[in-house]
């Protein structure tokens, strides 16, 4: 069982500068050639201020969080079981987004292979004015490293 005291542990905001080139490479890696991710003029003609980031782009953001530290255990393996995003607005090239990560919950669930430890990790992205841009929630099945006797 994971340590319940981990709940609420958080990392300080970490600045991510959204670069046009990374948006392009991210979209290319998905095989997604929608011009709103590549072409500024096209994006503007589509009603956006500039090039837009794809919906799962926050997956590329860095955070100051170290999951081992936040959860307080050594980690043998992590299995990503669920992911959700809530968006206040689209993310655009040139945005400066501060990402912080917190442990929203740790719990035990019974699955087909018996009991498993689950951690729910929440990322929050805010702009320079402090306005919320997105929230992301990861559900992870955690296998803690066995401690040496």
């Amino acid at each position: 069982m994971l340590d319940k005291n981990a709940i609420g542990r958080a990392s300080p905001p970490f600045l991510n500068e959204v670069e046009k080139g990374l948006i392009r490479r991210f979209a290319e890696s998905l095989g997604d050639y929608n011009p709103i991710y590549y072409d500024e003029e096209y994006a503007r003609a589509s009603g956006y201020p500039t090039v837009v980031a794809p919906p799962t782009f926050p997956a590329s953001f860095s955070s100051a969080a170290d999951l081992r530290e936040l959860l307080g255990v050594g980690i043998k393996s992590l299995l990503h079981a669920e992911q959700s995003f809530e968006y206040e607005r689209p993310i655009f090239a040139g945005d400066r987004i501060f990402v912080s990560t917190r442990v929203a919950d740790v719990l035990e669930r019974t699955g087909p292979a018996g009991k498993m430890d689950v951690a729910i990790i929440e990322d929050e992205g805010r702009d320079e004015e402090g306005s919320l841009v997105f929230r992301a929630r990861r559900t992870l099945i955690v296998r803690a490293a066995k401690e040496n006797p």
Partner: protein, 208 residues
Amino acid sequence: MPARKLYFETIRVGDELPALAKAPIDRVQLARYAGASGDFNPIHVDEVYAKSVGMPSVYAPGMLVMGMLGQLISDWARGGQLRRYHVRFIKMVWPGDTIVCKGRVSDRHGEGGRYFVEVEIWAENQKGELVMKGQSTIQLFYSLEDENRQRAGQSPIVIEVPRESILSASSSSEEADEDDQATASGSKKTPREKPAAKMASAPRKARK
């Protein structure tokens, strides 16, 4: 010229999103995604490592497939704004797999001049097996006229559109869906997403 936009007034519950067939996933794509996302977990890029921990080969990160399903939504909902996007990862995706993304409108509603459609989305591999499923909420303008008014700084068109869920009629006895059923008569709306409670239940089959 930008593509045509999608407006709320033209959408009906049960509408299918045009299926999106992606190119087969290869190890180069896994490397590209690792580079773009910054996730260099060796299980997705290092064949030697993957085999050393008992895997037949490297496999695709779930987030890559979630990105593909995101393309399905964005391609369909041009001019809309994604509000919520949730998936459950169900089956591993391997190099050589071909992902097909599918979706269907499960609900539509509008209140106070804001209009939303809910879509169920899922991804299948080349054997037709379900690898991922989820839901998304997209906000749209009611119509071209509504968009023009709002872009001109005028008030939106306001039409009250109650939820019109088909989930209750067509899905299995999962908890969240029963809640929907209970509230389909139009009282309080229940968020469908219950990540904390849903995971232990068996994955449902995508409906054909």
